[in-house]
């Protein structure tokens, strides 16, 4: 009996899927995992990546060799969309309400347009 070990990314331990032969296809592996975990939702898909090489298996017919370890992620069908456009929020000069003066000595506010903050450190 050959097996493939799988672990959900958020969970802590590995489980196993057993099959006959030297390898298992991605589609069959997904089916087996969904069966064992009782995942029935129709809008859910699994993203399988190799635990050592971090390579994602995308082709449904690709062969995964026996004794491999894979990481499984539940994703919505259609996969995770990359982030859309970034919205820029311009903030006018705000009083730093979050900073607390440590001492009562008088102090002045200085505005510094810091592009390379690290150069001052």
């Amino acid at each position: 009996m050959s097996c493939v070990h799988y672990k959900f990314s958020s969970k802590l331990d590995y489980n196993t899927v057993t099959f006959d032969g030297l390898h298992i296809t991605l589609a069959e592996l997904k089916r087996q995992i969904m069966g064992r975990e009782r995942l029935k939702a129709t809008d859910c898909d699994l993203q399988i990546t190799n635990a050592q090489t971090r390579e994602e298996y995308t082709d449904e017919e690709v062969h995964i060799p026996k004794h491999s370890s894979v990481i499984v992620r539940r994703t919505p069908i259609g996969g995770v969309k990359p982030a859309g456009r970034t919205f820029i929020v311009d903030r006018s000069d705000m009083a730093a309400g979050s900073s607390r003066p440590v001492c009562n000595k008088h102090s002045h506010f200085l505005t510094i347009s810091v592009l390379l903050l690290s150069s001052l450190l």
């Binding site: 009782r38 995942l39 029935k40 820029i88 979050s98 200085l110």
Partner: protein
Amino acid sequence: MAAKRKADLSVPAEESDQLLIRPLGAGQEVGRSCIILEFKGRKIMLDCGIHPGLEGMDALPYIDLIDPAEIDLLLISHFHLDHCGALPWFLQKTSFKGRTFMTHATKAIYRWLLSDYVKVSNISADDMLYTETDLEESMDKIETINFHEVKEVAGIKFWCYHAGHVLGAAMFMIEIAGVKILYTGDFSRQEDRHLMAAEIPSVKPDILITESTYGTHIHEKREEREARFCNTIHDIVNREGRCLIPVFALGRAQELLLILDEYWQNHPELHDIPIYYASSLAKKCMAVYQTYVNAMNDKIRKAINVNNPFVFKHISNLKSMDHFDDIGPSVVMASPGMMQSGLSRELFESWCTDKRNGVIIAGYSVEGTLAKHIMSEPEEITTMSGQKLQLKMSVDYISFSAHTDYQQTSEFIRALKPPHVILVHGEQNEMARLKAALIREYEDNDEVHIEVHNPRNTEAVTLNFRGEKLAKVMGSLADKKCQQGQRVSGILVKRNFSYHILTPSDLSNYTDLAMSTVKQTQAIPFTGPISLLASHLRNLAGEVEEVESAEKITLRIFKNVTLVHEAGMVVLEWIANPLNDMYADAVTTVVLEVQSNPKAQKVMEHKKEGIELDVFQQRLEIMLLDMFGEDCVDFKDNKNLTVTVDGNTAFICPETRTVQYEEGSAEDETLREMVELAVQRLYDALNPIQSM
């Protein structure tokens, strides 16, 4: 597509201006609320619920897309299953190690509500995400917070406001680096019998994450709703029917009990008809309600002092089906609210075929549950065992679920005017309608611009907060008022998100940091005479000072390195800084050289200061002969040293090392410059050490 997002490599996450909001659940759906907020390297999870219409792992939010170990803070808004149902699983079965916060009432009720859910769940033990033991063990990991109490975790400040909706429900305001985000959870702006209306925060948030359950609907008036509810029940019992109201043991049930008790009080003809509140946890639940009265509204707080309204006159507790004598009309409130399993489902199945009976759905029902299904009035329903039954009993939907409607949401947003609004917790179409309505409302408004987002599950909204960074100058640097364009230098101290500039000497006043000096001492074995060493050191350093007052012979070299002659060794001392370290290195080399070289063990003459003029002139002649050839150089006359090339004659003065032409002869400066440079260089080579 990697699940982990790597921050822009050139800017570390701590300094980046990018804020990310990603729903892992409740994005264009209702159920399994779980929203991730990332900013300045901090990661916060808002709510951790399960989907009531799904089972097992399917019901969880898409937690696989984040690393639980990276979450710093988890905030739970209230005890409904779709907001905290996955909490025991998340705390006990993942690598999460951050801190969890909820209000006191929420924590108390969470314990019993989830316990009820675990008991009532119909699925086999293998499918269960967690057990009663997991739930018990998770209690210690949960910390509590009072309303309006400000807490700070990992540089994140947060506090909560009353949200109405259910007892203990909170809206969380989170502040990171001056950016404020308000997460409403589920809220209601209408006061009811025991809860206050949601507060409008006095602080305006930059981002508002709000529920959109009822989208553009407008609720009927409270009095009308209560009247409709009571009349429907009255009709059902009048026609000898049984009335089933499926609700969870805790939450809206208490509001309904208050309504029913009052109605029965006012209708003596109903006193024979029993009202049952069916829950094995009833006693514990009511005890909780009686404890957390200060989370309720003023009216009921006053009433509690007089006569506890939660001690009902017409309602009796029902522990289980065995205690129930099903004879004649009655009203039963049983859990769970959406009839997936448990007592409410059992009763429904035994009553649904009789048309005298009626069921009232009193809360929001999620897609996929039986409660939602029967609202479409199907002909028959499937029981838990798979059997088909005719649905003849009446079905009424009267929602007391205390969610905000369009009027309330619109008013809330108008009061806060957040530049960005993110809609969650709403079914796709409802949410889209709400988004369109909100955009329409602010379309023509030039002063207020609100951007509305409705991300799907796992879809991120990215916002970039550009702003000026402010640093406060304190201590002695602040003594004088500065002008624009003036240079200020000091040490920049960053504490969480506030920056201060201080002089090094002020550091200990304002921080735990202090300036210190490091003194280095080095002992080198040396057995020769100190005078030999001293003369070698004079070769190196030019000037070597003898310290008069010391007992042992002490020399000061380069003004900063002290050398003390002890028995069999010399001890070097200097204050560590790059320059002094270099001097000390050079001195050490000389000492080691002298020590290890036996031929040098003889006294050298005191070096002459500077080179003799004759010697210099001789050497100069040799060099110039080499450069220009015998014909051009004329040194015969000691006063006149000349170099002649192509008819141009350059006169050299050895004392000043300057070179001149004859009066008014040549325009070409190259010969003069060349010779002058050569003369000067020769002189420098023969006199390498200038005084340091």
